[in-house]
Amino acid sequence: MPNEIGTVVTFILDILVSAGGIFLVASGLVVVYGWARLINMAHGDLVMVGAYTCVIAVDSGFPYWLSTLLAAALVGLVLLAGHLAVFKRMPQEGMSTLLATWGLGLMLTEGVRLLYGPGGRFVDPPVTGLVTFPGGVLPAYQVALFGVAVVLAGVAVFVTTRTRLGLRVRAVVERPDAAAMSGLNPGRQRSALVLMGGGLAGLAGAVIAPMAPVTPYLGPVYSTTAFSIVLMSGTRVGVMPIMAALFLGTTRVATQTFLSPSIAAIATLVLSIVAIIAVQGRLSRP
């Protein structure tokens, strides 16, 4: 009986950690695409740049937490520069925007590869050891990562639903014309959201860097996860991205626990697409 309880606890902890990581990776895209309506195909590559920035800063002697902030600032500024120079001039959600952001992603991937080579880079986690739960054990850094995700999610929900800033964001996201007539500047709000979303992508990259080798080719993996979350949660501000991350985390952990890796990947894919179509269909109804 204790073993069974331990298995269940470990299973639930795995789901929470997985959902936390997924939420972290997707949060930047939720802001940039879900709210600012910039279809950012470079999101995964920006996460990768954040991870590299953290690795290089730590290698250069900066403390880990400062490196994380540096990664967030650098990536946020890179995306903002791209937005102001190129993306802002294009129609929202148009094919040209999609291609331009993908082009930026290619440049980032190849730029990093040319500068640092294709091999994996590593950074030690700032927190080591194990945390013991009733019935289960987790690496301390995974618990810290989950904590960061929870704090981030809490701040996002509080800011967007309970503050004046959140009201403005919702106005610009949901009724840009009405927001403009109320004196808000949707263009400036979008730029601020793009900066924030880029910063979150950089932060996510830095936070997940100690979890696995950092290579220039991680972008598409992160992009796939992030777009799944955004498509599941739509443009709604609030708890939807958190629910989507929990759904995807549960699906991944459950399928990987009970099925072979290939079947698990297919099952996750099918369930994700079903969820995306169901949620989008529901959100699109008048």
């Binding site: 279809i39 195909m41 190129v86 001039r89 294009m90 129609p91 929202q92 959600e93 148009g94 094919m95 040209s96 925007t97 999609l98 291609l99 331009a100 993908w102 082009g103 930026l104 992603g105 290619l106 440049m107 980032l108 991937t109 190849e110 730029g111 040319l114 972008g219 598409p220 993996v221 992009s223 796939t224 777009f227 799944s228 498509l231 890796p261 290939s262 990947a265 297919i266 996750t268 894919l269 994700s272 697409i273 995306i276 179509i277 169901a278 989008q280 269909g281 529901r282 699109s284 109804r285």
Partner: protein
């Protein structure tokens, strides 16, 4: 008519060049034309129908893998065609129908097809058995059905292009344009928009499969990156640069791109993708004027 003549002229030139060029270059040219047919087929839902098919390389990859698994010895090409069509059309048609019945927007649908394709890439990479894992499949032999000659394959390409032109000019093509330009009016007139869009996507999948099977027979390889982000989005670049909705434009840009890629890519291998990314960003600024953003967000 001028577009059709242009397309015929390109394929006629390809036929002549295939006879004149050495074997390797002739294969590069034929593979480029087949990729162009895939882009032209993608142009049907994307350019004519306003449904951006971000996962355009998915049926092409399925076709290539079907050839690699079922027709690697050059035989059983019809089985490879059939399997590819069943898989690609069998997935895309119901997916499109359900998505548009539930009023998923074309842009969101396009992203779903891209996610599907990338996920298939990851599944293949994790499956080392019949599909070769991350190494893919190589040594696929030329199709015996064509007497190992490239001309009949180009002839198939010509036939597919002719069919695409015919579809574009048919009543169905007109309806497809109506769903792109005036979806609300088309719906009010009683046309079933999800069915029309699903048929366009299924046709693109069908032609993509055929092109993929033939391409694997010409190049001899099928690899997971055929389903990847770059393979998918580069098709949209070809469609966008070739002027969406023209069918022949994407064919031309694809053939030119593939030949330039082969000639310059090997010489500047290290910087090729960086330059490609920069070129795409700059091209996008030029493309924004003709962007059909309005159509990407209509119901």
């Amino acid at each position: 008519v001028s577009r059709q003549l242009l397309a015929a002229a390109i394929l006629a030139a390809a036929l002549v060049l295939v006879a004149a060029l050495p074997d390797y270059r002739a294969r590069v040219l034929v593979a480029a034309v087949l990729a162009g047919i895939m882009a032209s087929a993608t142009d049907l839902p994307t350019g004519v129908g306003g449904v951006p098919l971000f996962g355009a390389a998915f049926p092409f990859g399925i076709g290539a893998y079907a050839a690699g698994v079922l027709a690697s010895d050059g035989n059983h090409l019809s089985a490879a065609f059939a399997a590819a069509v069943v898989i690609a059309v069998g997935i895309w048609f119901p997916l499109t129908l359900v998505a548009f019945r539930l009023r998923v927007t074309p842009l969101q649908f396009g992203l779903i097809t891209l996610l599907l394709s990338i996920a298939v890439e990851q599944v293949i990479m994790a499956t080392p058995g019949a599909v070769g894992g991350s190494n893919g499949l190589s040594g696929i032999r030329p199709a015996m059905a064509f007497g190992r000659s490239l001309w009949p394959i180009l002839g198939c390409g010509l036939g597919m292009l002719g069919l695409l032109f015919w579809i574009r000019g048919s009543e169905f093509g007109l309806l497809l344009r109506a769903t792109r330009d005036e979806p609300i009016r088309a719906e009010a007139l009683g046309y079933d928009i999800p069915s029309i869009r699903s048929c366009a996507v299924a046709i693109a999948a069908l032609f993509g499969c055929f092109a993929g099977v033939l391409s694997a027979s010409v190049t001899g390889v099928a690899y997971p990156a055929m389903f990847g982000l770059t393979s998918n989005l580069i098709v949209l670049v070809w469609v966008a640069l070739g002027r969406p909705g023209t069918i022949v434009g994407p064919l031309i840009t694809t053939v030119v791109y593939r030949i330039v890629q082969t000639e310059l890519g090997s010489r500047f291998q290290n910087h090729y993708l960086f330059v490609l990314g920069l070129t795409i960003v700059v091209s996008s600024l030029w493309l924004r004027g003709r962007d059909r953003a309005d159509n990407a967000t209509v119901p």
